[in-house]
Amino acid sequence: MAKIKYIEHNGKEHIVEVQNGLTVMEGAVQNDIPGIDADCGGSMSCATCHVYVKEDWYNKLPKKEMGEDDMLDQAYEPNSSSRLSCQIMVSDDLDGLSIYMPEKQV
């Protein structure tokens, strides 16, 4: 279980507890947090669960697997702190994680 803070582009914060084994994307979708679309349902086939993770946490997350950066090329305004939230698996280690939403997903 990890407490995750989802921060919308307008600054509105949502703090929820997400079960281990779910992804950060699922944590948002299951809790009706706006800003993450996840059109493809988590198969790393779209880029609509794009989030930014600040440096302190970015380096602590499991590294990107092959293909995630290719998908991120197609996201809205990606940068070096971009991740696809469907590829971040929640574990106890992620307790206290903050993620920032882009202005929009498409």
Partner: protein, 337 residues
């Protein structure tokens, strides 16, 4: 005006199998899809990725699945209307009049929406200033490459489309290729070629840059690019091309009064009809308690929706359930003895 029993919106696996079920029970259908090819997400997003959860098929790719579904409906000779999108849906007496972007019109008692997450459209530049040049000098696909001859062309993207066009146009145009990181997802041979062309100054390569602004009085003159550190450069450009892949947009479906809930259409689970008589929704786009976004669920939904279509297409006939193994009528429809 094309008169038919059913119009299917979306040529993905769900739409294709629904067409099969319609053919089996003796109904005609017309299939419309915005993409230029059949297969939907399977062919556009993951043609090479293996799928492991199609019943009785331990492993197949999106492309193989699509090809098999096409083969399965071949006996029925249904028409596909590709590169076209349903724009308008209107009720006229007991029929639906369906109009497409290419001005095709259908008259049908049934519409089956198998639209996935919407239609695929090119992802556009995030910069507001690019909008006024959209379709003229800011482009997301190329129809006539001769317009770029001797022009300055700025190409954005790191996939095959961006690389292929940069290579192709570099012989006749002044090409700049701009990509947000220094790795490319295009084919390794193309990446190699781009590096060679860059070393020979045939292409100006800018990696770790993205678009900031496009400028021009009346016509496009220059494009400003920025690095993540905030450094910016201005490049002369007659044309700006963006190749960022495709995104899925619900589009006009949202305006048909179908009580959308989070981009999905609520349906009943008896025949997958929506709140409107004769409009059905199946596959990823439909929503009901327990809905799973699996291809196999789409197949089931399509089979039941097809039976739902029967009562409006043949109001004076009684639908009779038959097995393909035993029915001579079905065997005739399939053209098998």
């Amino acid at each position: 005006m094309i008169k038919t029993d059913v119009v299917i919106i979306g040529a993905g696996p769900t739409g294709l199998f629904c067409a099969h079920q319609l053919g089996i029970i003796g109904l005609k259908c017309e299939i419309v899809d915005n993409l230029d090819k059949i297969g939907g997400q399977c062919i556009e997003l993951y043609p090479d990725k293996p799928i492991y959860d199609i019943p009785a098929v331990p492993e197949c790719t999106g492309e193989e699945l699509t090809n098999n579904l096409i083969k399965q409906i071949k006996p029925f000779n249904f028409n596909f209307h590709l590169n076209d999108r349903v724009q308008e849906l209107r009720k006229e007496n007991e029929s639906w009049i369906v109009k497409t972007t290419n001005s095709k019109e259908f008259n049908t008692p049934n519409v089956v929406i198998a639209g996935g997450v919407g239609s695929f459209e090119p992802r556009k530049f995030p910069t507001k200033s690019a909008e006024k040049f959209d379709g003229k000098t800011v482009l997301y696909s190329i129809k006539d490459k001769s317009i770029f001859k001797d022009k300055a062309v700025a190409i954005f993207g790191g996939g095959d489309s961006a690389l292929d066009w940069a290579i192709e146009l570099s012989s006749t145009s002044k090409v700049s290729l701009i990509h947000r990181r220094d790795e490319f997802r295009g084919a390794p041979a193309s990446v190699q070629k781009i590096k060679e062309l860059s070393e020979k100054n045939k292409i100006n390569l800018y990696t770790k840059y993205s678009i900031k602004d496009v400028k021009g009085n009346g016509s496009l003159e220059e494009v400003e690019i920025k690095s993540e550190e905030g450094e910016s450069k201005t490049l002369k450009a007659d044309y700006v091309l963006g190749f960022f892949g495709l995104i899925m947009q619900l589009g006009p479906i949202a305006e048909w009064g179908l009580n959308l809930d989070k981009k999905t259409i609520p349906v009943n689970t008896e025949n997958f009809e929506t709140n409107k008589k004769g409009i059905f929704a199946i596959g990823d786009i439909c929503n009901y308690p327990g809905k799973l976004k699996l291809i196999l669920s789409g197949f089931h939904e399509g089979a039941l929706a097809a039976r739902g279509c029967f009562k409006y297409a043949r109001p004076n006939e009684k639908y009779r359930f038959e097995f393909t193994t035993a029915s001579n009528t079905i065997k005739d429809r399939l053209g098998v003895k």
